[in-house]
Amino acid sequence: MALGRREEMKLKKNGFRIFLTFCIMAIFWVLLSGIFDMFHLISGLICCNLVSLLSHDLLIKGKSEKNLLKLLRLLFYIPWELWQIVLANIDVAYRVLHPKMPIDPLIIEFDTTLRKDFSLTTLANSITLTPGTVTILVKPERGRFWVHALSKKSANALIVDQTMQKKVAHVFMEKQVQTETHEVFE
């Protein structure tokens, strides 16, 4: 046997990656060009082929074992997130248009057990888009977040319930435990 079993597996995986990158590139090409004659289609396909051969490990990386399940869970997470965005906008609109402007800003700091880049980015962006909170700083090594909140009540959703951390941890299959939180006054 010229190729060991391991190498064979690796080649198979790489082939799948190249194929997936090629498919995504081709769909984007057709969508964005919008021209369907032979010349443009073939030149586009050649370019897609070159790019996916050269840089297939950029778009899809890491172990791709449970990626499909993660994607499915992410698809279920997005509608909940959209609803939170609507609530956040109504909350901000109420605070802006109220004559007395009921805000009492504070900064909170808390740890999460998330470590991967993608899950941290998702959590940071979700925090920014949900009612009354915006991410200031993230320390990826310790999973530590600094969050600016408009009121004590909106900060409590992150401190006490920790619904969002649990949901993101569930989506990306990382374990999440209740963690310590404290306020920062500077």
Binding site: L32, I85, A88
Partner: protein
């Protein structure tokens, strides 16, 4: 056609309302952090809703391959990713330069 027009008008109107609220918040809120709350959230949903209205209108108004609606969907997705990231970048820059957040009872800046 009338129903489509009503739906599109609803989406555009809500989008405009949220964008307007974001602008008013930018003027009314006391400091940079709270102002970013207003713009970061309201511009995301407002812009998204306006584009969604344009998408629905284009989809029902023009026949043929829906290339423009597909592009508009990508536009919405990119706005929803880029806007909170930009807000976060501004926040981080302000926090690292040492700008003190406004507390209740202080004078507005």
């Amino acid at each position: 056609m009338l129903i489509v027009h009503i739906i599109v008008t609803l989406f555009l109107g809500t989008g405009l309302f949220f964008t307007l609220v974001g602008s008013i918040g930018l003027l009314r809120f006391p400091d940079l952090y709270t102002r970013l709350h207003a713009t970061g959230k309201c511009d995301t949903l407002g812009g998204g809703l306006i584009i969604l209205g344009a998408l629905i209108y284009h989809f029902f108004q023009y026949s043929g391959v829906p290339l423009v609606p597909a592009k508009l969907i990508f536009l919405i997705i990119f706005i929803f990713i880029a806007n909170p990231t930009a807000t976060h970048a501004l926040m981080k820059a302000a926090y690292k330069t040492g700008l003190k957040p406004w507390r209740l009872g202080e004078e507005r800046r």
